[in-house]
Symmetry: C2
Subunit: 379 residues, 2 copies
């Protein structure tokens, strides 16, 4: 652990279980589902006016551990570069909250959780969930924390979809919103990449209709799914910088073992992923992402008509998975509703990964934006 | 079969087995390999001067059946739109040849062929092959046909790599060359997509270290590999035109069965592919593609220094798998060697698939180019 004066230090994950009877959340599908537990972490201190809360929303493979170190860990949370004293989300000013989504596999209720009715993991008995369900569940937690209004909601990729869902469903409970590298709806190409990942999992005989808990896990399928994902997170510019065509050293004699560095990298990332992620969660969460469509039943002119929050939309030039034109559409939707929206396209070569890597640019943009929002609110 | 006056009509595949003792081809790896049979088809008539031969080179999943109809078939060969009387490769003028590559699975010797030493399919005993090996094998066939000089060599994608290899290795035996939507070497992103496909096959327990012939085939893995491929052959512009976000009708009740049209399409293409393609061929051929690097050991300034052929380089605007900058590099290499090279970037939305679909534009470009080449040769 490398603690410093810009780290939030050692943190602990907390758990919130819906207390309200009948302990159920009405899902977008019409079904009611419960009990639900959300794993969450907080950094910084909630002020007396309860007006400095910032909600961080994670992407497909993220979790509630966004910053600081878990006791004994070598690596900090997934957005530690952005959260801490003096950082973009300055924990000396803001009370930062991050929770694992409904359907996840790191503490929140998901397909790998035990179904209290059967005493076995849900597997495919887990209901189909949506981005709206994830957001609705989070608001139960926000209510529980006694917070009426969030200073901002921020996240990239699927985290950005949750930001957009907040802008649509909770317009009067957010002061501002920062959707990063995201879209109002998934394109056929985005759906297609997710579908290949799902098919790779379903093709693994260990998947066993989702009923693999306690037996062999569909690691090979999940690993292939993750490899596909990783290619789409990088760019045709960043990859040659990272790998070139260098051949991996200590090459195995087997004909189809990794040869080029990029092959070894993908396998490494795939193999690591299966240690920390649940294949069924991957299926459920990607399905929620693909089904997300804020323009379903409403037009780009009307989608944010109830919103009065300030919005900062960030996109990255080399991001071909969530291309800039999808962010333009978000800005357009804001402008149609006279929402105070700013658009920034960061000139990055990192591809979609840029939302995790372009720390300096993002810090600059977000710090300034939050200063303006806080001033409006007289924080 | 829909014969017309622009079709070459019913055709038959022919087979050529290396006749020269010791029936072996020296491979780029240093190994000697044989016996080798190549499946090939020809359309049109070789003229008396033997000067009107055109060699068509196929892509990863292609075969020797480029034009016309096999007896009883409903669908013509894979480039029928380009080959026939009056078409781009006009069979009233040219003698068109197309052979299945070494390593393939439709008549040419490949990993699914029977190893005469063991009387069983080669499987992983098949040697690692390269694009150069494919091209060298084809020249044995050209020699056998008694052709000293080819009027042109033409192909897209991996076919284009074979064109480039011909420009490098057989500069004085080709009058002209038409590399389409291809590259002097694969980029890390291109390697990465192939690697995911290979890992999907290797993850299929039916693959069984390549020794699956006579048992269950690794259909699920190969199908996932093909799905990944198909996404990269389309574009973010062509996909919404083709699919939008329409949900497939007659949806199955199962949670993770195809839902959006694009998902059903990918599964359909994957399922169809496994009926006609061998998983080991997929491994060997993609490995040959990834290893291809004409700039290995030479510079872009020198790679075509022995070439005096006319060259037409064609790229497509929306092709993000083989982006136009890779074709620019081919043109640059030609120009450095004072090769008479023309570059055309077709304004297509079809992505990489454009080389199979932009028939009208390609016909126009290629007809005119071949007319000039033929005139030079006084055909």
């Amino acid at each position: 652990m490398a603690e410093s004066n810009t780290s939030v230090g050692v943190v602990k994950t907390k758990y919130f279980t819906f207390a309200k009877p009948p302990n159920e959340l009405p899902l977008e599908s019409g079904e009611a589902f419960g009990p639900i537990t959300l794993a969450y972490e907080t950094y910084g201190t909630l002020n007396n006016q309860r007006s400095n809360a910032v909600l961080v929303l994670h992407a497909l493979s993220g979790d509630s551990h966004a910053a600081g170190y878990h006791e004994g860990d070598q690596h900090p949370g997934w957005w530690d570069a952005m959260i801490g004293p003096g950082k973009a989300l300055d924990t000396e000013k803001y009370f930062v909250i991050c929770s694992n989504v409904l359907g996840g596999c790191t503490g929140s209720t998901g397909p790998s959780s035990v179904n209290p009715k059967t005493k076995k993991p849900y597997g495919l008995d887990f209901p189909l969930i949506t981005i709206k369900d994830m957001v609705d569940a989070q608001w139960q937690m926000i209510d529980h924390l006694g917070i009426e209004n969030l200073l901002t909601v921020i996240g990239g990729s699927m985290g950005g979809m949750q930001v957009l869902q907040n802008m649509f469903s909770y317009p009067d409970r957010i002061q501002s919103a920062i959707p990063i590298a995201t879209a109002l709806k998934h394109s056929p190409q985005q759906i297609a990449f997710d579908e290949v990942g799902r098919q790779a999992i379903l093709a693994d005989p260990n998947w066993d209709d989702g009923d693999y808990y306690g037996h062999a896990f569909p690691d090979k399928g999940l690993s292939v799914a993750r490899m596909v994902g990783h290619i789409t997170y990088m760019s045709d510019t960043s990859m040659p910088e990272k790998f070139g065509r260098r051949v991996k050293e200590n090459q195995q004699p087997f004909k189809f073992s990794p040869n080029f560095e990029v092959e070894g990298y993908l396998q490494y990332r795939g193999d690591n992923f299966v240690k920390r992620f649940d294949a069924n969660s991957y299926l459920y969460i990607t399905k929620a992402i693909d089904a997300f469509n804020l323009l379903n039943g409403t037009s780009v002119q009307n989608v944010f008509k109830h919103l009065r929050a300030k919005v900062l939309v960030i996109a990255f030039k080399s991001d071909w998975l969530y291309p800039a034109y999808q962010s333009h559409e978000i800005v357009k939707a804001c402008k149609f509703s006279h929402v105070d929206a700013t658009y920034c396209e960061v000139n990055s070569t990192y591809g979609h990964d840029a939302f995790l890597l372009e720390v300096e640019e993002e810090t600059h943009l977000i710090k300034h934006f939050l200063r303006t929002v806080s001033k409006d609110r007289k924080l």
